[in-house]
């Protein structure tokens, strides 16, 4: 996931929107495109999308807040997705999630204050045979137990510290 996480107003989002005609029906593809490029949708991006397609900002916002597809806040450096699909849940992903919540001090859907970790509940991460499973920055971890999770989180913490130096 290569993305520049920026709130900088000077960034020109219109480059990403080129190729989309001025037609409201391209709103959904445009939002996906922006999220793909920047990792989340900032207020500026929503405004730019509205201007580009010629629709009211309110309409853009109402679609962007529907369901769970779009994020309106930047992600942390390390994204943890715990699968909460039926298969994983029945095999104990709830416990995994509560351990992570306690360990990181955040609830599912939030990012830690220092921007190191984002904890997400994913609807299904396609690893039913490895339930309960989670994905950290795209890497899959399966057949988890509470202790494994603590170890994995430690590893990523150390990794971030060493890369910061």
């Amino acid at each position: 996931m290569a993305q520049s996480k920026t709130n900088d107003r000077s960034v020109d989002f219109s480059a990403a929107l080129q190729g989309y005609p001025r037609d409201p029906k391209y709103l959904l593809p445009v939002l996906y495109k922006l999220q793909e490029n920047y990792g989340f949708l900032s207020t500026e991006m929503l405004q730019e999308a509205a201007r580009h397609l010629g629709v009211p900002v309110g309409k853009v916002y109402s679609l962007a807040t529907f369901g769970e597809e779009f994020r309106l806040e930047p992600l942390g450096r390390c994204v943890i997705e715990v699968c909460s699909g039926a298969c994983c849940r029945i095999k104990g992903s709830g416990g995994i999630l509560s351990v992570l919540e306690a360990e990181l001090g955040i609830k599912a859907g939030q990012t830690t204050q220092n921007g190191a970790f984002t904890l997400l509940e994913a609807s299904c991460i396609d690893a039913c045979a490895l339930a309960p499973a989670m994905r950290v920055n795209g890497h899959l971890y399966g057949n988890l137990q509470g202790g494994d999770v603590l170890r994995i989180i430690k590893e990523y913490e150390l990794l971030q510290k060493s890369s910061a130096k």
Binding site: K25, L27, G85, I90, G94, V99, D126, A129, G146, G147
Partner: protein, 644 residues
């Protein structure tokens, strides 16, 4: 590539006894209608003797289980050895649907195809050395053996019999999902050929009966006959939206079909477009299906190159465009209006009549693929498409506490017992079956004693659901209240918020169930006793007054749960006891002093500071402070924290 070679105008002379080898060549010739009839059986195609074809399933599930590693291992080993390189062909396939057996590798050699399961690198080297280079089969790790020459008469329950019985999934895991040539070789594009010929001849009546036959697959609710007829007669630009979304939240049927056989999905949409005279087809895709999206977009490109899509399809004067459109995943998109709204860039609302509704129609993926299978058996969709000859099947995702989870296709009317015990291999760890939840988060519970119920229309009605999607197996260690709570929470989270029963009612139900999942204190206890009657009353109100099926179906688990497992609800409410020991809020946690080593992992993580003890000495839980969150139990590396 075969299909690019010629644009011959010669009349087709094929008959049923001498079927058309390459559909496209015949399609390009104007008349008469090619009597193509494909037997729908797998085209094993190791051409020459001595050649070996190794196929590795690279669906999402396979990749998660490490299929890429296995694939790369085979690739590097083949590259190393010149002798192997000439003799062995390595291919990628989609997913066979048997998740628990991933990574699945099939080896086609001489007269048989051997399917190996759980192939890691160790197994892979064994297969390579023993079977491919030598000629002896490894002792274990074999999923099944398919003999190429033998088509019938094999024993029931074998892999071969299962593979032959599949209709919608017929190509899944057997052909390369990204190869148009392999799709053609497996009999693809025959249905489209038939539909296009009817269109060329202007046989409106036959087209109508064909589409009705294709769309009336049992269990269908998307399109009513009148709407279909009205849509067909409508003039002007028309769009057919293929709904490539899962039936329910825990199913993965659609993903399996799309990843294993994307061409069938696209052809299905093309067939429906042609039969209904629509010039635009839209695949409304779940945005989660990243692998499927690549495959579908690639398939559309290949079809365009072949001249089967675009302006003037094969010179017929009929133009057809197919677009892949990542839509929204939300369960509200089970409603037509919501899908059209999303396509137009509006916030989806159930029941809203989007502007496009007049010129648009939605159909479900399974119906589209069914249309392809039907059309392939009936060249040119004979006068009265007779459905009886294609067995009616149902694709279901089997998951939960079952030995072999996966996406399987079973004949309609198969009993649930057969599905769980024969196809699924029984309950995990030989535990006792408690219930099945059929239809995901909005599906109903069926107790174990009703397991001989057949999977058919009657079952749908009993449970009050519209389609099968997934079957979740619950054993004795699963709590129905807990399962209901999470199902409702999921549905409540997906509520669009437009109508009050669904938005507020589901929220209240979740709240109430949450409160009986933990021990009550003081005045809360009095309220607790009313909950049983309140739950039922509120659930019925939501069912009857919700604006769309999202709300009315969301309470199904609760209503069926109350019907069949009322005792369990009672135990939670009146005795503050969870019979399955699943609801942590009702459990008492204890540290076993013998097992505890005093590593203090639990003490540091207890959010309530309820654990005391010195390092390297046994720890204790202070009962008064403990909120029964269960984190200590999860993190203890020695299994010293027990509950009762």
């Amino acid at each position: 590539m075969v299909w690019k070679e010629s644009l011959q105008e010669a009349a087709c002379t094929h008959s049923q006894s001498d079927p058309c080898p390459v559909v496209l060549d015949c399609l390009r010739s104007a008349e008469p209608l090619c009597e193509l009839r494909h037997n729908g059986k797998t085209p094993w195609q190791a051409a020459e003797e001595n050649q070996v074809v190794v196929r590795i399933g690279l669906g999402s599930c396979g990749i998660a289980a490490g299929a890429k590693k296995t694939y790369n291992y085979f690739k590097s080993q083949l590259a190393k050895s010149g002798e192997l390189k000439d003799r062995v062909v390595l291919k990628k396939t989609g997913c066979l649907g048997l998740c628990s057996h991933e990574v699945v590798v099939s080896v086609e050699k001489s007269d048989r195809v051997v399917f190996f399961k759980n192939v890691n690198i160790e197994r892979a080297s064994e297969i390579l050395e023993l079977y491919i280079q030598g000629d002896s089969l490894p002792e274990d790790g074999i999923l099944g053996i398919v003999r190429k020459d033998q088509e019938d008469g094999q024993k029931i329950g074998s892999l071969q019999a299962y593979l032959n019985s599949r209709v919608l999934l017929q190509n899944a895991g057997l052909i390369d999902p990204s190869s148009f040539d392999e799709y053609l070789a497996s009999g693809g594009m025959a249905a489209f050929a038939g539909a296009l010929k009817m269109q060329r001849r202007g046989e409106e009546g036959r087209m109508l009966s064909a589409i009705l036959a294709a769309m009336s697959k049992s269990g269908d609710f998307c399109i009513e006959k009148e709407r279909l007829v009205e849509f067909k007669e409508r003039s002007g630009e028309k769009t057919v939206v293929l709904r490539a979304l899962e039936q329910d939240t825990s199913s993965f049927t659609v993903r399996t079909i799309l990843e294993s056989d994307p061409y069938s999905a696209v052809e299905g949409l093309m067939v429906i477009c042609v039969l209904l005279g629509a010039s635009r087809g839209l695949v409304f895709l779940d945005p989660k299906f990243k692998n499927a999206r690549v495959l579908l977009e690639d398939a559309v490109c290949q079809l365009q190159e072949a001249g089967l899509l675009g302006e003037e399809v094969l010179g017929s004067g009929f133009s057809l465009r197919i677009e892949v459109f990542p839509g929204l995943e939300s369960a509200v998109c089970a409603e037509d209006g919501a899908v059209f709204a999303a396509v137009l860039g509006d916030r989806p609302k159930p029941g809203s009549s989007g502007k496009a509704q007049g010129g648009s129609l939605t159909c479900h993926l399974e119906d589209a693929v069914y249309a392809v299978r039907l059309g392939a058996l009936w060249p040119g969709w004979s006068e009265h498409p007779f459905k009886g000859e294609i067995p009616e099947t149902q694709v279901v995702s089997l998951l939960g506490r079952v030995e072999n989870a996966g996406c399987i296709e079973v004949p309609l009317g198969t009993s649930l017992r057969e599905i769980v015990y024969d196809y699924g291999g029984g309950v995990e760890n030989r535990k006792v079956l408690k219930a099945l939840q059929i239809g995901g988060a909005s599906g109903g519970f069926l107790p174990a004693r009703l397991i001989d119920t057949p999977l058919d229309q009657g079952l749908l009605q009993t449970l009050g659901i519209k389609r099968f999607g997934s079957i979740l197996v619950l054993d004795q260690d699963c709590c129905i209240v807990d399962q209901t709570y999470y199902s409702l929470k999921e549905m409540s989270g997906h509520s669009c918020g437009l109508c009050i029963p669904c938005r507020e009612g589901l929220f209240r139900l979740v709240e109430m169930l949450g409160s009986i999942k933990r021990a009550g204190q003081g005045p809360e206890n009095l309220k607790r006793f009313q909950i049983l009657s309140q739950l039922e009353k509120l659930a019925e109100t939501i069912r009857d007054t919700s604006r769309c099926s999202h709300g009315s179906s969301a309470v199904t688990p609760l209503l069926t749960g109350l019907t069949y497992f009322k005792d369990e609800f009672r135990a939670h409410i009146f005795e503050e006891r969870c019979p399955a020991n699943q609801c942590k809020g009702l459990l008492k946690f204890k540290i076993d002093a013998e097992l505890c080593t005093g590593c203090s992992i639990c003490r540091e993580r207890c959010p309530e500071d309820a654990i005391i003890g010195q390092s390297k000495f046994s720890h204790f839980i202070i009962e008064d402070r403990c909120t029964s969150c269960g984190i200590c139990h999860e993190v203890c590396p020695f299994g010293a924290v027990s509950f009762s």
